[in-house]
């Protein structure tokens, strides 16, 4: 079991920091280039959502907890922002709550496609936690 925690201001400049640290944490499992880029992209989606939607330009904090157990990594991205009203609707591909800000509504669909499992918990006015799980399969060559 290995653990990591990261806490940072909800600023767009930190999106790169978050995905880079989360991808580096994975190195222990000897991932492929594709697996690394999938994790990077999924983390970027979750963190960007917290910054854009949860805090909507206001200041705030984003927290990431990561855990490796065996060959499986779990990332939990948490914010303390506005929360999500209708999680099922938010997760639908192409749904966006911000149609005027050049958002494509692809974030959750990408997290779902690039990770093995995606769970979203949210309380209106309290915040959102997105948990993503991925098994890294080491191909013996």
């Amino acid at each position: 079991m290995n653990r990591m925690e990261l806490k940072f201001s909800a600023k767009s400049v930190n999106e790169r920091l978050a995905r880079t640290v989360c991808a580096a944490f994975l190195l222990e499992l000897d991932p492929t280039v594709d697996e690394m880029s999938e994790v990077k992209t999924a983390i970027s989606e979750a963190v960007t959502n917290s910054i854009i939607h949860a805090y909507n330009g206001e200041s705030g904090v984003v927290e990431i907890k990561a855990e490796i157990e065996g060959d499986t990594v779990t990332y939990t991205v948490r914010d303390f922002g506005c929360g999500i009203d209708d999680i099922a609707k938010a997760r639908e591909p192409l749904y966006t709550g911000k149609p005027d800000s050049e958002r494509s509504g692809m974030g959750f669909a990408i997290m779902e496609a690039f990770m093995d499992k995606l769970e979203v918990e949210s309380v209106k006015g309290e915040g959102t936690a997105v948990r993503m799980i991925k098994r890294i399969t080491r191909d013996e060559q």
């Binding site: 400049v13 999106e15 790169r16 992209t41 050049e102 990408i110």
Partner: protein, 119 residues
Amino acid sequence: MEMTLLSKHRLIAVRVYGELDHHAAGDIRSALEREIKRTGAINIAFDFGSVTFMDSSGIGMIIGRYKTVSALGGEIIIYGASEQVSRLIEMAGISHLLILSDTLQQGIDAMSRRKRVNI
């Protein structure tokens, strides 16, 4: 980001460097919108050969520019995209809106063919 105007094709060629995320997308959007107004160009060619990462913010930025240029009768060319970027464009289901090519010249050729057909 580096922008070059190819007046003959009414096209802005833009080379994007590094990671195309939410942090970077805003600057690219405003620079391109400004350049389109200033030059009267109606087509954009993105050189993605130096893009090392892209997420849905990049997709949103591309769709936004597509809306701008298609309203002017123009096209979007994307060339040199990595495997990761191409996969995302595929997933977003926007390939049919774009001219995807290996080089700028191939993109411009495809654009000229399309315009001739449309006339």
